[in-house]
Amino acid sequence: MSKTVSSNANQSFVQHNVIEPSRPPSNLVGPVAWAREHLFGGVFNTSATILILLFLAWVVPPFLDFLWFDAVWTGKDREACIFNDAHPDVGACWAFIKDRFSFFNYGTYPIPERWRVDVFFVLLTIAVVWMLKLSLPRRDLGAIFAFVILPVVSYFLLIGSPALGLPIVTTNLWGGLLVTLVVSAVGIVVSLPLGILLALGRRSTMPAAQVFSVAFIEFVRGVPLITVLFMASVMLPLFVPREFEPDKLLRALVGVALFASAYMAEVVRAGLQALPKGQYEGAMALGLSYGQMMRLIILPQALKVTIPNIVSNYIGLFKDTTLVVIVGLFDFLRTIETARIDPIWAAPTVSPTGYVYAAIFYFIFCFAMSSYARTIEQRLSKADKR
């Protein structure tokens, strides 16, 4: 190109230098055009924008006032949070949350033994971070830690063992965050292996295994969790010999774990079905046994593609742990329900404050999990696109 230009350099009618492209008309680029396209294009669009702005203006300032500007931060009983002439606008009663904070975390776990719960929280955090952060070293050890060591250690830590010098703490004293985390952790740890077994059973060629898996999965998925918990709480004690009567927490754990396994089985099955048949045939052609084929070829691939679904299943499980109230456990939400009707803190904004606190708590946990699932999903799709 440049050569052509230079060879014609002496001809006056030829344009010698390249003309800069002129800027697009100002009504097509820039913030104004963006606003026109995205906010004010057409009557419908404009009215929607205005309505939403009005709505936000109506909702957000009172909400912020409630949460922050009118909130009460200190105080030790209802006096701090009732309406009076000194402060006519009372927002959230955060003093109530502060006062009951340890109740929300430990329930009625004996105060001198609460360090054990703290240790459990720390160990659980280590296990979760080690398993989920893909850049950490030796994640196989992390899996052993999370799925074998942690359950055993936590059992002795939380229940206690006189031999180790830890006094026994019966589970009816447990409560709050502790119960919520124990129920969800047990559900998570048990449901994955059980779900894998059920999914393999459902796809198995052995009629007995298939019928049993299908019946179990369809039955559990067809009924609400509440009825499963009812079954665990009122029917399970009838089905076991008198000597083994399970305590309330164990009943709830059995119910939640079985319920979660059935859902997990369907998620894993979807992953198994997504694998091309060639993977199975290739593994068989290499002479691998069923166990080797599953362990080395099929499950690693099937589980990898289902990680996002597994995590969203876990989110559902975490939210469902609130239903263990029905069997008489004191989970996190129940401790808030109990505390908010306590006469010591009888003030008009205490209930909303309790719910807002619970909402923030559950939202942070669930949103973190779903963001994690989204990251993994993007990572996987990137790997596929390569």
Binding site: G41, L238, L323, S351, Y355, A359
Partner: protein, 400 residues
């Protein structure tokens, strides 16, 4: 001559392997063990249950079904009185209440969910933003928390009877619920119903005819206008001709009380609100995924063929999106129905509340009561999934 091992001649014997190495035998053995374990567990459970029931002196069997229940139920459509009704009647009250809240909930959640799902894909960033955070917030909080919030922090915190909030059309809102005018059917309303039913049948017929004609000739019929006429205008005309046969029992605010009208209790409202808002967030995601699943090439090809945007979405995008949307949508409907059992926590007398709550406490017959409740939910779920499987087979892409 072929290698004898490769031939399938009748005389050839399969190579002898020990039963340990034979997959067939191993599978038999495994299944025998599995059935043995399950049989043992069932036997143990059964014998323990008989013994435990005998020890606790709990009756078994369904004799309680016809016994007088003796407890009141706060909300029932059909006739129920604690003095004369039986446990069986209580069961039906609970069942109807469950189906009622589920049916209303499904309709409202679908409307809201589709609206939010479409809004999430809107070009208007504010609309998309609000829709997105609606979905994120509602989906990431337990339904139970939302129900308790609506019930305890919103509906129960409303002003009392005397300072009821007065909404237009004589609707009152207070901490005893929502009072609206109660429609009273009068003579002649039956005719309007017949016209409506006729309109419905005709609409379906017209739609089938229009689809056949479209497939045969490619000509579009004004189905929308015809449906509007048959379903709205014709019944409205019939209503006017029959002399407006519908009266209203309008609630009046007295000094201490509100007289008359139809009262929706806060328990019902809280459950409905919670279920609708929560499920709508999931339906929105289903709808969004369905719309996004229709590849852009489909729209572009339709434009290239000269179809107009509204025809494109009606004939090209929506049918393909619905194929993706309907299966997960059904499972959301089932979830809503199952989640309606959370009525236990706000005191709405649904099946789980009446039956596994009060009836179970009074009779103590855990196995029968929980069994019946589970059977009801199970049959709803299984029926729906059979219908869904049939539908899926019908609409599934037939690859050629």
């Amino acid at each position: 001559m072929l290698d004898p091992r490769l031939s399938d001649a009748p005389g050839s014997q399969p190579a002898k392997v020990s039963p340990w190495r034979d997959p067939r035998w191993r599978s038999y053995a495994f299944q025998a063990v599995l059935m043995g374990v399950i049989g043992f567990l069932v036997y143990e459970a059964f014998s323990n249950a008989t013994e435990n029931l005998k020890r606790q002196k709990i009756a078994s069997g369904f004799g309680f079904w016809d016994t007088n229940s003796g407890f009141p139920i706060s909300f029932s459509i059909q006739h129920y009185s604690e003095a004369t009704s039986t446990y069986g009647d209580a069961f039906w009250v609970g069942m109807v209440n469950t189906l009622l809240v589920a049916a209303i909930g499904i309709v409202l959640a679908t409307l809201l969910g589709f609206a939010v799902g479409v809004a999430r894909l809107s070009k208007n960033v504010l609309v998309a933003f609000v829709a997105r955070w609606y979905v994120e917030i509602l989906r990431n909080m337990p339904l139970l928390l939302q129900l308790l919030f609506w019930y305890n922090a919103v509906l129960k915190a409303l002003p009392g009877m005397r300072d009821s909030i007065k909404l237009p059309m004589n609707i009152f809102l207070n901490n005893r619920g929502l009072t609206t005018p109660r429609p009273i059917p009068e003579d002649g309303l039956g005719w309007v119903g017949i016209v409506l039913l006729l309109g419905l049948v005709l609409t379906i017929a017209v739609r089938i005819w229009a689809k056949r004609r479209l497939e045969a000739t490619g000509q579009l019929a004004p189905v929308g206008w015809i449906s509007l006429f048959l379903l709205v205008i014709a019944p409205a005309l019939a209503f006017v001709i029959a002399g407006k046969p519908l009266g209203f029992d309008v609630p009046q605010a007295g000094r201490f009380n509100i007289v008359g009208g139809l009262v929706f209790q806060p328990e019902f409202l809280a459950l409905l609100f919670g279920l609708v808002l929560y499920t709508a967030a999931y339906i929105a995601e289903v709808v969004r995924a369905g719309i996004m699943a229709v590849s852009h090439g489909q729209t572009e090809a339709a434009y290239a063929l000269g179809l107009q945007p509204n025809i494109t979405s009606k004939l090209i995008v929506i049918p393909q999106a619905m194929r993706v949307i309907i299966p997960p949508l059904t499972s959301q409907y089932l979830n809503l129905t199952k989640n309606s059992s959370l009525a236990v926590f706000v005191g709405y007398p649904d099946l789980a509340n009446v039956f596994t709550g009060t009836v179970l406490n009074q009779t103590g017959q855990a196995i029968e009561v929980v069994g019946i409740t589970m059977l009801v939910y199970l049959s709803i779920s299984l029926t729906t999934s059979f219908v869904m499987n049939w539908y899926n087979r019908r609409v599934a892409l037939i690859e050629r």
